[in-house]
């Protein structure tokens, strides 16, 4: 290991703090569950939100990792190690899927076809049971994770070998994997979005839904990487590496992704609003009611307008310490977006009060402790930049090229 780029020693302290906060989250989660009437149901509901949130950041890191290999741009080199560490948490997420598999019956409506009294709905679910049945569901998720883990391990192996040998052919090989790999990744993510989230309402469908979650993952991952870079930029050795130019690039990427998210989300709304069909629009009607209506407005403002306007500023993008506030706003909004997508399905048209959703914060923070613990363990174990990459001098130059 090249000691010039060794991780700062107090990353271990940050890891400890993350684990501690996670532990507090788990305690709050347990207390919340015991106070709630229906422990089993609420546990699995809040678990699913936390799982989709953290799996999203892990997958976003994997996607960005392949994109930076494909682009061959030097901005990607600076964040390659954080992205690798983020995608390595997919191993953790694969293990954390097991409770979802156990709780399928408490999460998905299509598990209880027999007990549904509505004839039409039951006929429709019977028709869809070829796809929506527990065995096939678990097999599919296993396939998704196999695809993601394979890509993650292949890229990781090449990157670590590059540290030892500095052989440029390894980058070429990573690039060759990333092209078809990204295609496989996007297909697996689309199907995962359909299975894990969209099938909560087995009647409803939207063809853009997979893309919506993929872009959401990208937004969350870049916002997360910006936060990590700001932490690193305050410490040796990365304070000599991360320049305003690098934050400028990351800020531009965040701006672009926020816009794509808004574009996809709005496209779905516009089409369903215009069609106003009985099999499509109820999904939105449920989400315009009560608390969800307010959270929806919060999403329009906080997930698009505010970050969009702030990120237009060049000075803000170049200042990591200010950029990080936008990144945190966006991460919080990602969480609210997932709440808005998932939780109304558990309520059957009776939205709760804001305090009913605190348990989802507890579960997400609780799982976040584990996730961040895994992430920082990975980040600490290797040099913070791929120091043998032939493009490194160019990436480190004050200009920080493209």
């Amino acid at each position: 290991m090249n000691t010039n780029y060794a991780a700062p020693s107090d990353l271990g302290r940050i890891q400890g703090v993350a684990l501690g906060i996670g532990l507090l989250g788990i305690v709050a989660w347990v207390i919340g569950l015991t106070l709630s009437g229906n422990v089993r149901e609420i546990f699995f509901h809040s678990y699913l939100v936390a799982f989709v949130f953290w799996a999203g950041i892990a997958l976003g890191c994997l996607g960005m990792l392949m994109i930076q290999y494909l682009g061959g741009a030097t901005w990607g080199l600076i964040i390659r190690r954080p992205l690798e560490s983020g995608s390595h948490t997919l191993i953790l997420m694969a293990i954390l899927f097991i409770p979802v598999a156990v709780g399928l019956g408490n999460i998905y409506e299509w598990m209880h076809r027999e007990s549904i009294t509505d004839e039409k709905l039951r006929a429709m679910l019977d028709h869809k049971s070829l796809w929506l049945n527990p065995k096939f569901f678990i097999v599919r998720t296993a396939i998704y994770f196999a695809v993601w883990l394979l890509l993650m391990l292949v890229l990781r192996k090449r990157s670590h070998k590059l540290d030892e040998t500095g052989d440029p052919a390894l980058i070429q090989s990573a690039q060759d994997w990333s092209g078809p790999g990204f295609l496989l990744y996007a297909i697996a993510c689309t199907f995962a979005a359909i299975d894990w989230v969209m099938s909560l309402d087995a009647e409803w469908f939207s063809t853009i839904f997979g893309m919506l979650l993929i872009v959401g993952q990208g937004v969350a991952a870049i916002a997360f990487i910006i936060s990590v870079c700001v932490i690193l930029s305050r410490r040796e050795p990365m304070n000599h590496v991360l320049k305003p130019k690098h934050f400028h690039d990351l800020g531009k990427l965040l701006l672009a992704l926020v816009m794509v998210w808004a574009y996809f989300s709005f496209s779905q709304l516009l089409i369903m609003w215009s069609g106003n069909l009985p099999e499509e629009i109820p999904w939105y009607i449920e989400r315009f009611k009560g608390t969800w209506g307010y959270l929806g407005i919060a999403l329009i403002l906080g997930h698009f307008f505010l970050p969009f306007v702030l990120l237009l500023s060049r000075d803000l993008k170049r200042n990591g310490r200010r950029l990080v506030f936008v990144a945190w706003l966006v991460i919080i909004m990602r969480f609210i977006d997932l709440l808005w997508l998932i939780v109304p399905e558990f309520e059957h048209g009776h939205p709760g009060h804001l305090k009913d959703y605190l348990i989802y914060i507890a579960s997400t923070v609780g799982m976040g402790g584990l996730w961040l613990g895994w992430f920082f363990w990975q980040l600490r174990s290797k040099a913070l930049v791929p120091y043998n990459d032939p493009l490194l001098p160019e990436a480190l130059a004050a200009g920080g090229g493209h």
Binding site: F266, L270, W273, S274, L312, R314, G399
Partner: protein
């Protein structure tokens, strides 16, 4: 102004072979206290603009204000046409059917913002300009091919033809030309 009119000089133009030498020279000229500097390159070089202390201008603000005006204009037009002047019930949706109004609002924002960018840029650059002294330099055509130029204008308070010429030559210019007014 009088001294300039007498000598008929616009400034001194230093010619460089590579972008990096032009950026370095521009930076040193700025550091030496010159402020009325201009630089010319065949393609945009962000560092060059930074080196001569040119990155703040009013074009982004113009674009932003025009964009907001476009958004307000677009949405007002639709509200007026389909909810006030000729109320139109489309399949029982509210008269002010916001989701359907967004695309037009967006297009109007883009349209006005691009007008703001295009016209704002022209006006603030003082374009169109049929005559500009820098084209009196014989080799200046190559500023759009393969050469990089740094020009110190005569109206700079620090400008002194001999000293400035010597200074620019020291910076490694392949040629320093007198720019006729």
């Amino acid at each position: 102004m009088t001294t300039q009119e007498e000598t008929g000089i616009y400034g001194l133009m230093a010619e460089f072979d590579t972008p990096s030498s032009a950026v370095a020279a521009a930076r040193q000229t700025y550091d030496a206290g010159y402020r009325r500097i201009n630089a010319y390159s065949p393609y945009p070089i962000e560092e060059l603009a930074e080196a001569i202390g040119f990155h703040k201008n009013m074009v982004p603000l113009t674009v932003f204000i025009c964009g907001i005006l476009g958004a307000i204009g677009g949405i007002s037009l639709q509200i007026w046409t389909s909810a006030i002047d000729y109320p139109l019930n489309v399949g029982g949706r509210p008269l002010i059917s916001l989701p359907s109004f967004i695309p037009i609002t967006f297009e109007c924002t883009v349209l006005l913002a691009s007008f703001g960018a295009f016209l704002g840029m022209l006006i603030m650059n003082g374009l169109p300009k049929p005559y500009h002294p820098v084209f009196n330099v014989p080799t200046f055509d190559r500023a759009s091919i393969d050469r990089f130029f740094v020009c110190v204008k005569a109206d700079d308070p620090k400008f002194n033809e001999d000293e400035t010429r010597a200074f620019l030559t020291r910076l490694g210019a392949r040629e320093v030309s007198h720019v006729e007014k």
